[in-house]
Amino acid sequence: MRRLAAVSAEAAKLGLHVGQKATDAMALVPELQTADAEPEADAQALTALVDWCVRFSPAVAADRPDGLFLDISGVAHLWGGETEMMADFRNRLSGSGLEFRLAIADTPGAAWALAHYGRDGTLAPPNGQAELLKPLPPPALRLDPEAAAQIERLGLRRLDQLMDIPRAPLGRRFGASTLERLDQALGRSAEALAFRRPPTPWVTRLAFFEPISAPEDMARVTQDVTAKLCARLEAEGRGGRRFEVAFHRVDGKAPSVAVGLSLPGRDAVRIARLFQPKLETVDPGFGVESVTIAAYAVEPVSGRQVRLEAGLDAAVEDGLVPLIDRLTNRLGPCAVWRATPFESHVPELAVAREPPILPRAEARGGGEPRNAVEGAWGVGETSARPWDREAPRPVRLFRRPEPLEQVVALLPDDPPVQFRWRGRVHRVQRAEGPERIGEEWWKGDIGDVSVGHVRDYYRVEDAEGGRFWLFRAGLYNGEGPPKWWLHGLFA
């Protein structure tokens, strides 16, 4: 059966309502135009609206199916106050042709009630939401349908009637959730909202009189907005590890670019320079009308005095930490690493990649090179045992072992005397081995364990002095010749 999922203001005037059968509605209003409901598209549009709202506050939560919450604590002053902020919000939102109702209150519950059942644009004064909630009907509390029906049946029409009932009978009669909702609306208990992005109070924005789009303007506003945020971070003795700049375009889209630092920082020049190469990817469209920057992973950072004899001492910009940040942001976080031991016999698993600078280094004195004791074998960073220096290991290890052809070995378990690799025949003069390396059978399925996964490694040297690390997969068992592979090259 088809039912009405939503009705326009005009249709509502004619007496149509949500949930009505489509045939009944057609009978009432023969010229009714209907379109199929698309809940997924609605949800997508709401998500887009949430993204758009980030220009007002970094903490925006979608209230499905048709609402959203903005946490505006600490951001309203950017507009000059809550009234001005709401006016600006209304102004911009109505430009996009949406139907909406706004309310500001201390708690999400009260704001929801006022937006849905109160006067549009209600601004509840601090701690004054109880007065405004009193005349509203009970469904304003976002009750579950059962409790709402029960309240309705008992003839309670206004919230003040509910508020007057002592708590214990109220909870007993209408369920704990009713009590909970009432407490949430009145601010007596906290409510968790699922914000679309983690809320950070470290947000700054810049708005322009005219939309900008020139690349040099974009670079300059990025610098300005970064400097603004960094000044705040500096004043509070903090630094961020991740920064994200969003460019709010006139068409409502907000492309953003992000950079990460290996240590928390607040050097505006440095951070702005990291953004620079990424700005090319931002399409300004018809123009950008405001820019926001948010800092994430904000931690306290102890201030360090800039050396007076700046000419003699190294500039901060030339240090190792900024270099790593530049490379990581340009090439991607996986492209810059320090190899650390990982306890595994399987060669390709024995190396773990770690970011070159761990935040813990800050506690030991920042980007200065670590002293010899700390930097020595395996001390500090990981608890894994260092690589065995007595076991010969190749300098180059192929990601995938390369197959060898025409391998001649005189006896089983003998190293090959000749093999062919990349079209060239190598005659083996000296050889060492085998070093048997088994698979990590305790990691896989018990059924997969077999002797076929054993590798016998040999280190061989050919007549020209080339040294190779090859292995035979599996054991000799009379089923055809074994496979030989080249896994690495020695110096």
């Binding site: 190294a314 030339d318 240090g319 190792l320 900024p322 270099l323 790593i324 530049r326 490379l327 090439l331 996986c334 492209a335 810059v336 690493w337 320090r338 190899a339 650390t340 031991p341 060669p347 024995a350 190396v351 070159p356 980007g367 200065e368 090179p369 010899a372 930097g375 020595a376 074998w377 395996g378 960073e381 260092p386 690589w387 220096r389 007595e390 076991a391 010969p392 290991r393 190749p394 300098v395 180059r396 290890l397 192929f398 990601r399 060239r424 003069q429 000296r430 050889a431 060492e432 280190r459 040297e461 007549a463 020209e464 002095g465 080339g466 040294r467 690495g488 090259l489 020695f490 110096a491």
Partner: protein
């Protein structure tokens, strides 16, 4: 007479060196510890604050295992003074292997880049960073402009650069750059090892090293051995490379020497 001439030439060379270095402080050299090698290099050792070119011989042109190990061993004393950055185009460098040769792997930062230009840019960036003492980059060729830029980057902070010339797998050889401004140019291949008497298997890794160009010095050719490789002494020896045999003195072949000068 000839003594007088030699003295004049030495005095002039010192004057030219003073003009060339300008106001930049003398950065010193890294001696190999063997006079037969050190006398071929200006200043008695590998000049620091410059960049050096290391090419491979034979299949090492593509695999670059011996050149990489040689460069790492040559720079191992440097890596103990600061961080080392290794710019790769294929990430097949394996830290356990370098650790076995005596290179401190905890000082090694590896960077994988997408193309040649990026490799040179990252190398330049790393060279002008405080706290980075050695930078390695695997590239195919360095033209004059790029070489000059690298030299300026080296001079900024006194970092030492090692360019490992490496051809991509299966790629055709690029035309060799007409000239190069590297301070030294080496060609490195592996040489057969000799196990100690009464021992089986392979001996310590040996390299066939040709110094093809040495600014302010002379060329030479030697067999070197990695001392203490794959043992607990790795990295604790005075210099990880030991001279095993002197293969040729180019001074005895004046014709080729003159040719060499002109090419440089």
């Amino acid at each position: 007479m000839s003594d007088f001439r030699a003295k004049r030439i030495a005095a002039l060379a010192a004057k030219i060196a003073a003009i060339e270095s300008g106001a930049r402080p003398e950065l010193g050299v890294l001696p190999f510890g063997d006079p037969r090698m050190d006398e071929r290099l200006a200043g008695g050792g590998l000049p620091l604050g410059r960049w050096h070119e290391i090419a491979g011989a034979g299949i090492e042109v593509e695999t670059s295992a011996a050149p990489a190990a040689f460069a790492a061993l040559m720079a191992a004393p440097l890596a103990r003074r600061g961080e080392a950055v290794w710019v790769l185009r294929r990430d097949d460098l394996w830290a356990p292997g370098l650790a076995g040769l005596g290179f401190p792997p905890e000082r090694l930062i590896q960077v994988c880049v997408r193309d040649e230009a990026e490799a040179l840019a990252v190398m330049e960036d790393a060279l002008s960073t405080v706290g980075v003492s050695a930078v390695f980059a695997e590239v195919e060729a360095v033209d004059l402009t790029a070489g000059r830029r690298l030299q300026l980057a080296c001079e900024r902070r006194g970092g030492t650069g090692f360019v490992l010339k490496r051809r991509p797998f299966g790629g055709t050889a690029k035309v060799e750059a007409a000239g190069s401004v590297s301070t030294t140019r080496w060609r490195v291949g592996s040489a057969p090892s000799e196990p100690l008497a009464g021992e089986f298997g392979l001996g310590a890794p040996r390299f066939h090293v040709a110094l093809e160009r040495s600014r302010g010095g002379r060329s030479g050719e030697w067999i070197l051995e990695a001392q203490g490789a794959y043992s607990w002494e790795a990295g604790d020896v005075a210099h990880p490379l030991r001279l095993v045999a002197d293969l040729g003195d180019r001074e005895l072949a004046p014709a080729s020497e003159r040719h060499e000068r002109r090419a440089a």
